[in-house]
């Protein structure tokens, strides 16, 4: 599979503190890659580097071989990378349909100014994400699971090749988590590459092809989920040293 997104020694400083340090990563077309790590490990920062909100201080990010590390977020979006936000950011006073239409109008799948086309595209995405019945609700009146869906729908309407999902299942109950996982799998089937930050391990393990683990802004592990889960460094980062050694004891 071709490399879709590649980061080379991506670093990001905030006021002298390194939030990311020399992170190398690759995302291939058609993959679902999970990004995990304890709180403050730099996962969201990495996403922000990719989407151009906080461009990397050093290092380069390549999308289909093109350097995108200096581009504005809207430009990156039009190139085919979209993200959802950890704290959902719907446009609260707009209807669900309009929220998605913004994505349809402005994203990569740019519909040339035709309201009708954009609306159709938006409706198609709503159908796909199961929000059709709520198309005319104001976004602020949605429940959290629906807002998360809307976040995905809006991103999807931009017709991304690469979708960055930042904790889309956080705060959902188990049934809702399952529904979201199914949606993510459907997305992959429709040909979209997915790079996701997730804390709910059940979700991330069940869908990811590969995991990348960050700790203190550095990459500490990478590989298939089960392999990563056995990685002592990862266990230490999550459970502490004693647990890692204790595990063998209990086992």
């Amino acid at each position: 599979m071709a490399i879709l997104l590649e980061g080379r020694k991506v670093s990001r400083n905030f006021g002298g503190l390194a939030a990311l340090l020399n992170v190398n990563f690759q995302v291939r077309s058609g993959e679902i890659v999970g990004l995990i790590g304890p709180n403050g490990a730099g996962k969201t920062t990495l996403f922000r580097c990719i989407t151009g909100v906080h461009p990397p201080t050093f290092g380069r990010i390549l999308f289909k071989g093109e350097d995108i590390s200096k581009l504005m977020p809207h430009h990156i979006c039009v190139m085919g990378i979209t993200n959802t936000h950890q704290v959902v950011k719907p446009f609260p006073e707009m209807t669900v349909l309009d929220n998605v239409r913004v994505g349809a109008f402005f994203g990569k799948g740019w519909v040339r100014g035709e309201v009708k086309d954009a609306t159709q595209e938006a409706l198609r995405v709503l159908e796909f994400t199961g929000l059709t019945s709520k198309a005319n609700f104001l976004a602020r009146n949605l429940t959290l699971p629906d807002r998360k869906r809307l976040e995905v729908a809006r991103a999807l309407a931009t017709r991304p090749e690469l979708l960055l999902l930042d904790e889309v299942v956080a705060g959902l109950n188990p049934t809702e988590v399952d529904r979201m996982i199914r949606l993510i799998q459907q997305l992959r089937e429709s040909g979209i590459t997915i790079f996701m930050v997730e804390h709910v391990m059940r979700a991330v393990l069940s869908v990811s092809d590969r995991l990348i683990v960050l700790n203190f802004g550095e990459k500490i592990a990478e590989g298939p989920p089960d392999e990563v889960a056995r990685n002592p460094q990862v266990i230490e980062a999550y459970l502490g040293k004693n647990y890692a050694s204790g595990k063998s004891h209990y086992a």
Binding site: P73, C77, T82, H85, P90, E93, V102, F105, V115
Partner: protein, 349 residues
Amino acid sequence: MSRSWKLWVGGPVLAFLVLIPFLELQGGYLQTLGFLTFLYITMSTAWNILGGYAGQTSFGHATFYGLGAYTTCILTLRGIPALLTIPVAGMIASLYGLLWGYPCLRLRGQYFAIATIGVGEATRLLMLNLDDLIKNNSLLKGFLQKGVLTGGATGLMLPTPPDIQAYATAFYYGVMGLMFFALFVSWRVKNGKFGLGLFAINMDMDAAETVGVNTTRYKILALMLSAFLVGISGSIYAQYVFYIDPQTVFGFPMSIAMVLMPIIGGIGTLIGPVLGAVFYIVVQDRILTANLNLGLIKLSLSSLHLLVYGGLLVLIILFEPKGLLGVHHRFNIWWNKRKRRSLAATEKA
């Protein structure tokens, strides 16, 4: 149902507006009132494109109004037909919008608002002193005609045509057309891609950016469009009153009026700014000319106009962010409830 209603109500209203100059109602005063109302609706609608749709509160829109008015006067006095100057006025206002909008629109929320106050006042002072500045500069001297470009504080006077009344009637229709044009633009913006982008910026700038909205460009375009319409309004105002001076057309009260009208009417909507402008003119007309007798104290209501606007602003911000439109909605809900209740009551009986 709704379409026929629109025809039944909208048709006669439109016919009435068109016929006003012939009806000589209130001795023709209604025509003046109509002219001003249309002009203010245009400006209110124009401000709303930037302030309402895109959410960028500007206290500096008088700069466009003034610039439009001055462009027309300066060009007309140099022999260019007045009608031709109208689009030029709009474009110059628009370019000025680009000039200060580009840096200022990078500021967010209240910083932008404050910067626009500064821009507005600075522009007024500059226009007030422009002639003297040019006089002292050998390079620019050529722009002066008999030592006058902007006329400084004296302002500029236009020659009056022989038949002012017919001229005024023509302008009545002209500005009515302008208003419909502005409303059409506003409607197109609101229901098109452009408006969707502006709304997205208004709701959440970062989220808009990540779904591909070029926020800087859209904000500037909104400002320029808004400035264009306000510039034309200024141009028409100048041609209607034949006299402009910087304190009036560049004055802070003008900017305030443009902020107040859409907020009173219902910010970010199509009809809100119209309601606000009509309200503004009617209140101004009625309040400035009425007296209130409270037994011993005779109060001239005119001394209360700031209180009315200020009070409304406070009440709207505190209780009804959607302005008159919001009040109308509540009223409607209440009305329907009452109707339903009375219906239920009759059924019971």
